[in-house]
């Protein structure tokens, strides 16, 4: 896979420079690590802050979701690598306006350790932090070990819910509870068709034959549940829905939102073909679909593949999901 870049070492910094230059109304670099992005216009005074962080290469995740009704700040690492604890601490400081800060991010070892350490660092600044981890990828551990699961595109739903709760003026406990509820209500599954290349590594994250796909593969190329021949869109979507339903049954009268997400190279045309099955399965189970999201919400650069994320809603979650939000990549309301 060919990439358009200058020096691999400059990839992330140049990307952030371009992002903030193209969207100065949304994003600004905060502090001098060069790796913390905060809202261009600070949130309301006294609003609970929400920070996230993780490796680069997943746009719009993570940085892209800094914006009104979403995140306040984000610490961003090298491609697929955790930002440092120092950078996370800076992001927490940027997000704080006195009401405390929720750390909302995906369950990856390095990120967890660093966000914990960042919490230790900002204790000196008297900033209270809470944590909600996304563990939505059903392929990454059995239900009995749910807490070991990776966080993937469910993050986007959690940002939306937590962001709306904070914008409503809830306190840190309330925002944290809403985020946790969102995280608990999300299940994801992905399928990979082709790898991507980490600029500094210069070679693909994994190898896969021209007629093969891998069900359940992680967004960095972590092994999935099976690898086999490419199947039809209906079969792929069917199995993905089966796996989601197995983990979180959906029935008559349920209200759910569903995200059909491209991992990067897979075009929207293919997402819409998949959506037909997704819709039929959900409605066949008696559920009502609320605000389906079809597009590129959480990617791995030029990886080909898709993920489905399902969030079961109650009245509170539905209200927060459909509340307004605004960033360069996503607008609701």
């Amino acid at each position: 896979m060919k990439k358009i870049l200058n020096a691999p070492e400059a990839y992330v910094d140049e990307m952030l420079a371009g992002l903030t230059a193209a969207h100065p109304e949304y994003y600004r670099l905060h502090g001098d690590s060069g790796r913390v992005v905060a809202r261009a216009k600070a949130g309301k005074e006294g609003k609970v802050g929400i920070v996230t962080g993780g490796g680069s290469g997943h746009l719009p995740v993570f940085t892209g979701y800094v914006g009104e009704g979403l995140l306040d700040a984000c610490a961003i690492g090298d491609v697929f690598a955790s930002p440092s604890a120092e950078q996370m601490a800076d992001a927490i400081r940027a997000a704080d306006s006195g009401a405390g800060v929720l750390r909302l991010y995906g369950n990856y070892g390095g990120d967890v350790m660093n966000f914990d350490m960042a919490g230790d660092l900002v204790e000196f600044d008297d900033i209270t932090c809470t944590t909600v981890l996304l563990t939505d990828d059903v392929a990454s551990a059995a239900p009995e070990e749910k807490e070991k699961r990776r966080g993937v595109a469910g993050m986007v739903y959690a940002y939306k819910i937590a962001g709306a709760a904070a914008e409503e003026g809830r306190d840190l406990e309330g925002v944290t509870a809403a985020a946790q509820k969102a995280a608990d209500a999300c299940r994801s599954i992905g399928v990979a068709l082709s790898p991507c290349t980490v600029p500094q590594a210069g070679k693909p994250t994994f190898e896969i034959a021209d007629d093969e796909i891998e069900m359940g593969m992680g967004i960095h190329g972590e092994p999935g549940v099976w690898r086999g021949k490419l199947r039809t869109a209906d079969e792929i979507a069917g199995e993905m829905m089966d796996r989601l339903f197995d983990d979180m049954p959906v029935g008559q009268g349920d209200r759910v939102s569903i995200m059909v997400n491209s991992l990067g190279a897979t075009p929207p045309e293919e997402l819409y073909i998949l959506y037909n099955v997704v819709k039929a399965r959900l409605e066949g189970a008696g559920a009502t679909i609320v605000m389906p999201l079809v597009g590129r919400y959480a990617t791995s650069m030029e990886m080909a593949g898709v993920s489905f994320t399902m969030m079961k809603l109650d009245d509170e979650l539905e209200k927060l999901l459909t509340a307004p939000c605004d960033c360069a990549f996503w607008r609701v309301g």
């Binding site: 697929f80 690598a81 440092s84 604890a85 070892g109 390095g110 350790m113 660093n114 350490m117 972590e222």
Partner: protein
């Protein structure tokens, strides 16, 4: 002979050199069971510390705190953060001291191990850097002669590496490799073997 800032500077020098030398080795080990960046983490981290070496204060606590911070800033990788956590734990313990005897080594290593365990939320016996530190703390317990401590530490860290080689990884990125991790060194344990040998000046 006790450990003071001069000894720390010398140890930093040896360790920095060792990490330049082992760059490929560690990347490769991590490439087999992870994302292949452990060599990068260690050389970057040691370069950051080396840059500060001359300016480190005599107070060992302050000096080690500065080292930990330099390491933390240089990357966000798991190993870097764990090491920084361990160094910080030791730093707090020796704050205000300018000399530390070799007899304190087991206690300080155990302290680092415990803080790192708290940070990483992993069990002992999981085939990680924690098991290397645990072996070193155990092997040096009750020793006080600097040469004996160094010998015991170097021996223990290699033995731990070998003892865990055929076990299954249970923590971090290596966990997802499951059975495939059997027979392969845990990259973090391998790195700790190189670190301890460089610090103990017991190479080869």
């Amino acid at each position: 002979m006790t450990i003071d800032i001069v000894a720390v500077r010398a140890a930093i020098g040896r360790l920095a050199l060792a990490m330049e030398r082992d760059f490929e080795l560690l990347n490769k080990a991590d490439g087999a069971l992870g994302d292949g960046d452990l060599g990068v983490t260690m050389t970057r981290g040691m370069r950051a510390i080396s840059e500060k070496a001359e300016d480190l204060p005599e107070d060992l606590g302050q000096a080690l705190l500065a080292c930990a911070q330099a390491f933390t800033k240089s990357s966000g990788s798991s190993y870097g953060t764990l090491l920084a956590t361990g160094i910080m734990a030791i730093a707090k313990q020796v704050k205000g001291e300018t000399e530390v005897g070799a007899d304190r080594v087991p206690e300080l290593v155990a302290l680092a191990r415990d803080q790192m365990q708290a940070r990483g939320k992993a069990e002992l016996g999981g085939k990680t850097v924690l098991d290397s530190l645990d072996a070193v703390a155990g092997a040096t317990a009750a020793l006080s002669d600097p040469a004996e401590v160094a010998d015991a530490a170097a021996r223990a860290v290699t033995e731990a590496l070998e003892a865990f080689r055929d076990r299954k990884a249970t923590v971090g990125r290596a966990r997802i490799f499951g059975e495939k991790s059997v027979g392969l060194d845990d990259p973090g344990m391998l790195a700790m073997e190189r670190i301890v040998k460089a610090l103990a000046d017991r190479e080869g």
